[in-house]
């Protein structure tokens, strides 16, 4: 049943990059959770391997069918992800003051991770039907705005600032890619400029304080500011060649917060040094340019926009996560694709890769 051309056109390069990143991820995680520790978390990397297996399964499914089916199912996928986001607010598991996880038997997953993909798919459908050379007008932006603000608000309610911001960044990148009319663009910017100070004025003092700490965590030397300096020490102390695998001292002594999720990059940078971090950054760069090349090669609007959305998601996550670990950005919980621990993150990332493979291998097929 499978067309021979599909096998000929299979994107081995993308698959190769994926394998490289997966291996780096498992190794780094292994170090983050075992080095210097005798207890508890050492099962985490085994769990991560299980997640990877499941993720590759999802990836295979994601490229077997024709991605154009996603166009038809987009509303359903989007609706389902909204439903899960609502559900998690009611029956979600409380962890550290937020409700992000849904429990299904022994597994827990984060609907917000899947929501990123759902927003990309639904926006790809919408924009593939409305895009034109003049750019989007205010009216044309209304529907995508509503489509992304709903999951944005639901995720903010959990609260998970990082993922909500990511949804915003992805939706904004896709809209800019589609092109926004100059007039509409000016409207949006000026509305933002007018409304933000008003909102600021209405906020209570303690809310302002919280936003200030968020924007400038060094304001809080005992909380986020401490994490940043520890992360910077970890990265910097790796120097050129690193301390060596399993030799990181910052991570071994648990100086890093969330070192197996949000600050995993610091663990890698400490152990592998500038050379290792550079390799990782380069592989990510290759992955992202390659996915943009897939966008470039796609002849169908839906596939083009879909693959662009996925590229944007991967890029933002890499830039925000590493930027945060290096003290360039506010500390928000954004995972590093392939590397951070977390089943939902791995599965979402690999499903995205599957969709890219799908688009790539069907680039010459036309109905």
């Amino acid at each position: 049943m499978i067309d021979r051309r599909l096998i000929q056109n299979f994107d081995w390069r993308l698959l190769g990059l994926t394998f490289v990143l997966s291996l780096m991820g498992i190794m780094t995680l292994y170090s983050a959770v075992t080095a210097g520790k005798s207890n508890v978390q050492d099962a985490l990397y085994l769990k991560q391997i299980v997640w990877y297996c499941a993720g590759f399964g999802v990836m295979i499914i994601s490229f077997l069918f024709n991605y154009k089916a996603l166009d038809r199912w987009s509303i359903l996928i989007y609706g389902l992800s909204i439903l899960l986001l609502v559900l998690v607010l009611f029956v979600g598991k409380h962890v550290g003051g937020s409700k992000r996880w849904l429990m299904v038997g022994p597994f827990s997953f984060q609907p917000s991770e899947f929501a990123k993909l759902a927003v990309i798919i639904v926006l790809a459908r919408y924009y593939s039907k409305t895009a034109n050379i003049k750019g989007l007008s205010i009216g044309g932006l209304l529907t995508p705005f509503l489509l992304s603000i709903v999951p944005f608000i639901l995720i903010m309610l959990q609260p998970d600032l990082g993922t909500a911001m990511l949804i915003f960044l992805i939706a904004a990148s896709m809209s800019v890619f589609i092109k926004i009319e100059r007039k509409a663009f000016i409207y949006i910017i000026s509305t933002g400029v007018i409304i933000l100070p008003m909102v600021w004025f209405l906020l209570k003092d303690y809310q302002k304080q919280r936003i200030m700490t968020f924007l400038n965590p060094e304001h809080d030397p005992l909380g986020a500011g401490y994490h940043i300096i520890q992360s910077k020490i970890a990265i910097g102390s790796g120097m050129i060649s690193g301390k060596g695998f399993l030799k990181g001292t910052q991570s071994a002594l648990s100086f890093l917060p969330e070192q197996h999720t949000d600050f995993i990059f610091s663990v890698l940078a400490e152990e592998w040094g500038f050379i290792g971090s550079l390799v990782l950054i380069l592989v990510f760069f290759m992955l992202i340019t390659w996915s943009l090349k897939i966008t470039h090669g796609c002849r169908d609007p839906f596939g083009t926009i879909l693959s662009f959305g996925i590229s944007a998601m991967l890029s933002w996550q890499v830039v925000v996560n590493t930027g945060m670990a290096m003290g360039l950005m506010p500390v928000v919980g954004v995972t590093l694709p392939f590397i951070s621990y977390g089943g939902s993150s791995i599965i979402t990332t690999l499903a995205s890769i599957g969709i890219l493979l799908n688009i790539s291998m069907r680039r010459y097929l036309f109905e």
């Binding site: 520790k37 593939s128 039907k129 895009a131 034109n132 050379i133 890619f177 092109k179 303690y206 060094e218 304001h219 809080d220 030397p221 005992l222 500011g225 401490y226 300096i229 520890q230 910077k232 020490i233 970890a234 990265i235 910097g236 102390s237 790796g238 120097m239 050129i240 001292t249 910052q250 002594l253 648990s254 100086f255 940078a269 400490e270 040094g273 500038f274 971090s277 550079l278 950054i281 990510f284 760069f285 992202i288 340019t289 943009l292 966008t295 470039h296 796609c298 002849r299 609007p301 083009t304 662009f308 890029s315 830039v319 590493t322 930027g323 290096m326 360039l328």
Partner: protein, 626 residues
Amino acid sequence: MSKFIKSTDSEWFRHRLSGVMYFVTAAFVVIFLRLFYLQVIEGEEFRRLSENNCIRLQRIEYPRGLIFDRNGILLVDNRPSFNLSIVLNDARPVKLTLEKLSQYIGVPAGELASKADCIKGISSYRPVLLKQDIGRNALAAVEAHKYELPGVSIDVQPKRYYLHRNSAAHLIGYLSEISSNELKDKKYLKNKPGDFVGKSGIEKSFENYLIGKRGGRQVEVNVSGQVVRVLENIDAEAGNSIYLTIDQRLQKKAEELLEGKAGAVVAMEPSSGQILAMTSKPSFDPNEFVCGLTHDEWKILISQPNRPMENKAIKGEYPPASTYKIVTSIAALEEKVIDINTSFYCPGYIKYGNREFRCWKKGGHGSVNVVRALAESCDVFFYNVGQRLDIDKLAWYAKACGLGAPTGIGFEQEGAGLIPSAIWKKKRIGTAWSSGETLSAVIGQGYNLVTPIQMLVLISSIANGGKRIKPVVMKRIETPEGRLITESSPEILGNIPISQNTIDIVSKSLWEAVNKNYGTAWGARPGGGIEMSGKTGTAQVFGRKEGDDEKKRVPQHLRPHAWFVAYAPSSDPKIAVSVIVEHGEHGSSTAAPIARELIRSYLNPESENSNNAGVVADYNIVYDEY
């Protein structure tokens, strides 16, 4: 799908993609440069920092806001507490360090080691509290041998200090370690486990004003834990100062007067609602909570029969007894079931149904009108009124006088009291109201319950010509620098539905109760040119059986509670007072003299010493009304 897109989309999208590529490349160049900066340029410095893991976090505690009385007398201060901490990683060899330390401060090494033993992993880089509040001698010893004690540090933490110990303890409240439930509460978002927060009184209700802002420091330490360099520093900010409405001199006086008794005294300025004194006895010393009570100490404190932890002035609910006759008179006069000329004959008892209701005065009062009846507290007069007055009407007036609901003094939970009505009884007890119960209700017995603060607001509103003023305890709040944040102003809760005529009758009766020789509080008249108006009450705690010998001494816990509510001077009230003495027996002999002394002290502060006669024996009345 537009035709246009179909034909040229790919080219067009490709064009836009080149812009995207520039953007992505730029972002990665930034990441590259930052990595290069951190790992290659600054790498050595960071390597050095990571080798000893020598970045430490230090908290800087803030001083909690101060509390003053209305005249600026300091009531609650902070004192330094020296806490001994150790960073295990810097204290190697730990055993030797702890042994030396135990010599210098005189604490067994085993006790210190037990605190240090359970520390592992990252915590060995954080200071662990060994002993708080070590005292100045131990402090000097540790400071002198600083260099033999690596990793040992002393930090100064402000601790609460209640200058006047158990004075106004219920009003001011106390601090205690934050509970796990409170930590979940949004109100305590800024708090961390181990923090001390207000648990009662002003300390609790003004928590948000009193707390300051915790500061902190990131410091670099050397191998033996000495600070080499401060990387980041944020100063702590002190909390705001609260000026209470109480007058500490009067407060002390009230406490002296109630010493050795159980009960409450609360006084306020009728025109402004400002509480001048609020005491509840027995009391407790909030200083004892500062370093935490043990479970046993706490258990002892809360299991005492006369409830030292309860603020009886606002939480204690008692039958109002004869003080309630003020309400009954208002209801009867306003409902026009009596007027000033209505007289009833009191033979000392009244027959109603098959029961005999007795007056407190065995021989009876003879023929009395409402003024005499209130002044002499004649029960029979009010039994007669009760037969003409519907219980629901009475309840309506009582509620209009502010009874049966919290006054809104605005700190801590207040008792609401209870004003019974026919509907209430049907709902709660399940049986219909019987008219005999109305006869108990009119003299403030039966189901009625009030708090001393409610009675204070009631007597103040008579003094104010019917205006009910909300009682307040906070006068103003200032920043540590003295900038005004908020100030309380008199708040009118409402008006008692009462005509000027009725006000005149009731205030005349209250005046007669003190200033006529037949009045129940005649023995407690202040003299010295001060005219006081008031009402006594003796609240039964159990039903007195017919034929009981009233003179027989009953055991302490069965003796009635003594009430007195008053204001002075009668013509231009400056102070209103509400006194309850639990099991004090007679309002006239136990409660009224306390109010008198307090009023004297407030209106004539100079004559303080000359008039210190204490409680004068009540020769006029053998036993009081009930």
